[in-house]
Subunit: 403 residues, 2 copies
């Protein structure tokens, strides 16, 4: 039997509790949606002022060099790289997750074609966040070379589906809906053993679980900065390419920011000899600059500590739900096993949508995803054990009122 | 003989002079680079605070609906549309100019293929801003269907080059380097008479010259919001598609923001039945929100008035340079004819780079473009006739010191 007092004791011993003060959250709100839009770092207000008033307003065009705007995609990429086991200059921040998937998919397909043009299958998960599938469809239709998309229904299906015809596999490291977490190293090994390449979508894992792209021998990764990394609404996405592939091909969204010498105004494209070749056009500097505020908070801690508390909080959320809400119609769809759990908990209920709305009215902000899924995100840097206790009490009341 | 007194008299009668107060410019600076990075509207500071502190910090995920984040690309597109002769829902703000070119190029090529698959030539200008050429190259290489890029050297070459093999023509409405302005209606007519489609790059004309995309019978247009429109560094770009083509094809960067029902999480892509199909991934909301500040200033005036003052200022800059700097090595490369002049003046000089640096040290901010080009942008809403007088006096001193 877990009690509120027990939660308070855990809070008193929580070494990450000090970080909450670096975020600004409205009074009376328990925010369980940091997996969709991360909370605002306090520093973001000041950072925006500096960028807008000083860099733009006063220094004007000079800020491209003086304020380092031009180098921001790589500089931020290297900071984020520290959280995901990247080497220097393997990561950039640019454009959107969807567009970055298009770039690395074109890269992966091109690299495979150089080796063996008979591999024509791209494997993805039916349950992935749909934009990944949509971008694969758009790419395949555009190149019109007989590629086919094969959708797998469960993670276990990958081993049965992959074979010598598979060119590329696209997987969500953590599933946006269920919270299922793939084992990165063993999945890379499986995919590589069949001669295929793997693109990791890190949208729901970056800033939520420890990631080591190099030691797990990954190929490509893309992901989002505005969820667990708290980069701000719609902030540009990240893209990582293992250094062995960085100059193996030229990606087709070949805008001037990816050019070897952008200011030479050459009449033909020559890609940069490094990760910059994954850049395309001029980036939204104000939004991009704010990403640094969230990342700098993560760089003060370490992902193992974040993971430890994340698992404690998701365990607590699962256990308390079972203790307090038994018989009230909830079905857990997030894996119980730690090694397959990301940092959110999803509960299915026939009235899921109405329940989420009722929770929001009580200041407990989660979100709803089709079909019937109540999704509750856990962000260890600004949530306490007591927050989880209170959230479950509200959930219980809502469910009882529902009956 | 033009005198400083004459400039002061013009300023006293200038009906647009009142707008300068809506921009924040540093003391002692004459800013002739608004064609590269527009000055900061005063309102941008307050707007950023509202978006960052209230919408992100307090309202959090709720702002996607409550603050209209989700609809921002179309809402801003419709505001910009008023400046360019667009109908309702023909314009969006999203991604970058480079990426938007890729989308409309794919659209234009697809539409042509539906009619006649033998047209395999894409015409562009050797002198265009290079990213346009780079994106065309990337697209052609990716689809690998035998398309060829034909570069024309002068605007007059278009008539000789276009024929029944031409699929698509990509032109800069105003050339980034020379300031040459194409006649939109007659060029559309020429291109259409050969059965080709035309994509206008408006980067150096939107907010600078009057544009009427519908009455000129244009097909597609893309462009930039951070130059003459003062949208902020790297702010997302615009994209316009004539309504006759809006649903004629599905663009290949088919991310979830372009889906017919994005929140249904459907497993396959169905494009929205409107201009939203040109969207792709989640947009950088803070940068995007600031665009409105600049556009709202333009909506208080009209583009004919802006154009009138623009031509007076560029005339003044050209005439004063000839009067004050005769024999000092400058060559005008911007067209003298009003109908072929955008809103910047470019002067070639063997020591162009050093001259621009010396001008910047004196607080006269223009920029340098290869080869040897001193580029001076004229923005009628925050420049005075006296500013031009003073800028030319500085230029004269720099040239004399150079000798």
């Amino acid at each position: 039997m877990i009690t509120q007092e027990q939660c308070q004791q855990w809070d008193a011993k929580d070494t990450l509790a000090i970080f909450k003060n670096q975020f600004e959250l409205p009074q009376g709100v328990i925010y369980l949606d940091g997996n969709s839009l991360g909370a605002k770092p306090r520093q973001a207000t000041e950072q925006a002022q500096a960028v807008i008033n000083q860099q733009w307003g006063t220094d004007l065009i000079n800020s491209w060099n003086k304020a380092g705007w031009w180098d921001l995609p790589v500089r931020l990429g290297n900071k984020i790289g520290q959280l995901i086991g990247a080497r220097e200059n393997e990561t950039v921040v640019t454009d959107t997750t969807s567009l970055n998937l298009f770039k690395v998919l074109a890269a992966a397909v091109d690299i495979q074609q150089q080796k063996d043009n008979r591999r024509k299958i791209i494997i993805a998960e039916r349950d992935s966040f749909p934009t990944d599938i949509y971008m694969i469809e758009g790419f395949m239709a555009l190149i019109n070379q007989g590629y086919q998309l094969q959708l797998i229904d469960t993670p276990a299906d990958l081993a049965d589906s992959i074979n010598q015809h598979t060119a590329v596999v696209v997987l969500s490291h953590v599933n946006y809906r269920t919270g299922y977490l793939h084992n990165m190293a063993s999945t890379n090994e499986l995919v590589h053993s069949h001669g295929a390449l793997l693109i990791w979508d890190l949208c729901h894992s970056i800033g939520a679980v420890p990631i080591d792209l190099n030691s797990s021998n990954s190929d490509f990764a893309i992901g989002c900065t505005y969820k667990y990394l708290n980069g701000g609404p719609g902030a540009p996405a990240m893209l990582w390419v293992h250094h062995r592939y960085q100059t193996a091909f030229s990606q087709p969204l070949s805008g001037w920011w990816g050019h070897e010498k952008p200011f030479d105004m050459a009449v033909s494209y020559t890609p940069a000899d490094n990760i910059r070749r994954y850049l395309c056009g001029t980036q939204p500097i104000v939004s991009m600059s704010l990403i640094e505020c969230g990342v700098d908070i993560f760089l003060q801690t370490d992902m193992q500590a974040v993971r430890h508390k994340s698992l404690q909080l998701t365990d607590l959320l699962i256990n308390l739900t079972e203790q307090e809400c038994a018989g009230l119609g909830l079905t857990l769809i997030t894996p119980r096993k730690h090694e397959h759990r990301g940092s959110h908990v999803s509960l299915r209920h026939p009235h899921g949508y109405a329940i989420v709305q009722a929770l929001i009215a009580r200041g407990v902000i989660g979100d709803y995803r089709e079909p019937e899924v109540i999704r509750l995100g856990v962000t260890p840097l600004y949530l306490s054990y007591t927050d989880i206790w209170q959230a479950v009490q509200h959930l219980k009341q809502v469910l009882i009122n529902q009956e």
